[in-house]
């Protein structure tokens, strides 16, 4: 199989996964909800003692992350399961489609859905800023690097959800992915624990967990963004590379596990 054919098959699966997600009305509702939330931020801002802009950025980006996490987890864990449940997976694998291609295609389809989501939400937050500032607001420029970091975090989380769903039930996968999201934001504590532990075994355990679990705290740039700070290009480049490498590893493991799965 040539690589062009592989890419073509992955692209077809991704497009289908995207179409399926778009057909799912929950996604539209979430986008609408976040836009409404952003509009509500304008009114909450009036209670904030002149801090409308900061609160709109905090609220908008936090909602973007939160709803993105829910989409990544709940849609992500169903990507493979739904095909098995409906038995459409037999029809797919009856065609010359590899299991890895199927997984990567599904993954990219959901990532495309999330991309549309974060871009629409980012535009919503930008419009809200323009509204409260009665014109152009320099925070809009700062906003987009933070949106990129949130998107990278969601891409990692989608990969984790896909990995768990490749061998587990949707409910358990969702729970485990949510745990990874929480622990991923405690990376600094894991590192501190590994340094402060007396025994070598504990040091290795926590040190290992620190490197094994995704360091999602790297992608938390909401609060500095609200103060007008932007991450440096070097930092963005490094965390993007980290996300690419981490996602590659996760998808490789998911493919290995999924490749050995028996659907009978």
């Amino acid at each position: 199989m040539s690589s062009v054919e592989t890419l073509s098959r992955i692209s077809a699966i991704a497009r289908n996964a995207f179409r399926e997600a778009v057909r799912d009305r929950v996604l539209y509702n979430l986008v609408l909800f976040v836009l409404l939330l952003t509009a509500a931020a304008i009114f909450i801002g009036e209670l904030s003692g002149g801090q409308e802009r900061k609160i709109i950025v905090d609220l908008g980006l936090s909602a973007m992350l939160l709803f993105g996490v829910f989409i990544a987890i709940f849609v992500g864990v169903g990507l493979v399961y739904k095909e098995i449940e409906r038995r459409t997976i037999y029809a797919i694998f009856a065609k010359p489609v590899g299991r890895g291609e199927f997984l990567v295609g599904k993954y990219l389809g959901l990532c495309l859905t999330l991309l549309v989501n974060v871009v629409v939400m980012g535009l919503g937050v930008s419009l809200a800023l323009i509204y409260v500032s009665r014109g152009w607001d320099p925070l809009i420029v700062n906003l987009w690097p933070a949106v990129l970091l949130i998107y990278l975090e969601l891409m990692i989380l989608t990969g984790v959800a896909l990995l768990f769903s490749s061998f587990s039930s949707p409910a358990l996968s969702a729970l485990l992915t949510f745990f990874v999201f929480i622990i991923g934001h405690f990376s600094a504590d894991l590192k501190a624990l590994s340094v402060s532990m007396g025994s070598t075994g504990a040091r290795w355990l926590f040190g290992g967990l620190y490197y094994l679990l995704p360091n999602l705290a790297n992608y938390s740039f909401i609060t500095p963004t609200a103060h007008g700070h932007s991450p440096s290009p070097g930092f963005v480049g490094a965390v993007t590379l980290y996300a690419v490498v981490y996602i590659t590893v996760i998808l490789a493991i998911a493919t290995l596990v999924f490749g050995r799965r028996n659907f009978k």
């Binding site: 909450i44 209670l47 904030s48 003692g49 002149g50 801090q51 900061k54 609160i55 950025v57 905090d58 609220l59 936090s62 992350l65 939160l66 999201f181 929480i182 934001h185 405690f186 504590d189 999602l216 705290a217 992608y219 938390s220 909401i222 609060t223 500095p224 609200a226 103060h227």
Partner: protein
Amino acid sequence: MNDRAKTATLALVIVIGIIATVVLSRFVDARRPPVDLTAATDESLYLNAKTARRLSLGFNGLAADWYWMRSLQYVGRKMIQQGEGAALNDLSQLDLKLLAPLLENATTLDPEFLDPYEYAAVVLPAIDVQQAIRITRKGIDANPNAWRLYQHLGYIYWQQHDYATAAEVYGRGAEIPGVPEWMQAMKARMAAEGGSRDTAREIYRHMFEQSADEKVKEMARRRLLQVDSMDQRDALRKLFAGYQTRNGRCPNNWRELEPMLRAIRAPLDASGAPLDPSGVPYVLQSGKCEVELGEASEVPIK
């Protein structure tokens, strides 16, 4: 029953159900025992600042906003409960025991958020001056280039009549690159004449000009009115003393003083009464050689 009849029946059930829900809610509300709102607002915080930060995941900025807005609502609700227009920098009678923990949480969750520090510096000294100093110093540690925090810390020490420390704080703030020149001047003024009325005027003028917070600006504006009014009342008392020396008694009305008031170019209303800085006529205490603020005056009494 055909489809249209079914739809109409269901729509009717929905409408009647919603109306019934509203009616029942109002019925229950009317019979619910009154809640002690004061007790509810004064429950201690569930989370201390460090735990709140740890649990906030990536949402610490939003959590800080929440605590900040809660601080404002908390003070606002207490002011409404008191029912009188209390000055922002003298809320000691409101029993704002949750204000320091709320501001502590907001600033721990988002250490770059300057407004809670400013609020702590202005409002907290009347309630717990040590907490006000601690939170403002915490802000300086987290934001060493935020010269406004030095201005606020200097203000707290000035209020405590600790002019030497206030001068030192203004001096440290004046060393920050790009800081307004008056910070250095404030250091000198604080050291030389910290307790003077002119120093107070300078402090409140700069606070009014520099603050982004409308409530702080309003407080500073009213304090400036108060300082100006004190000068005016001193001038009026001098007139009373002169009048008493000449006539052997205190004036009974402003008309008796009108030529003297015009001589010092005091703004007067149609009845000849001098106007305070907020444009409200002063009240002459007949026969006592004393002057009071009018009821409608914006000038703070204390």
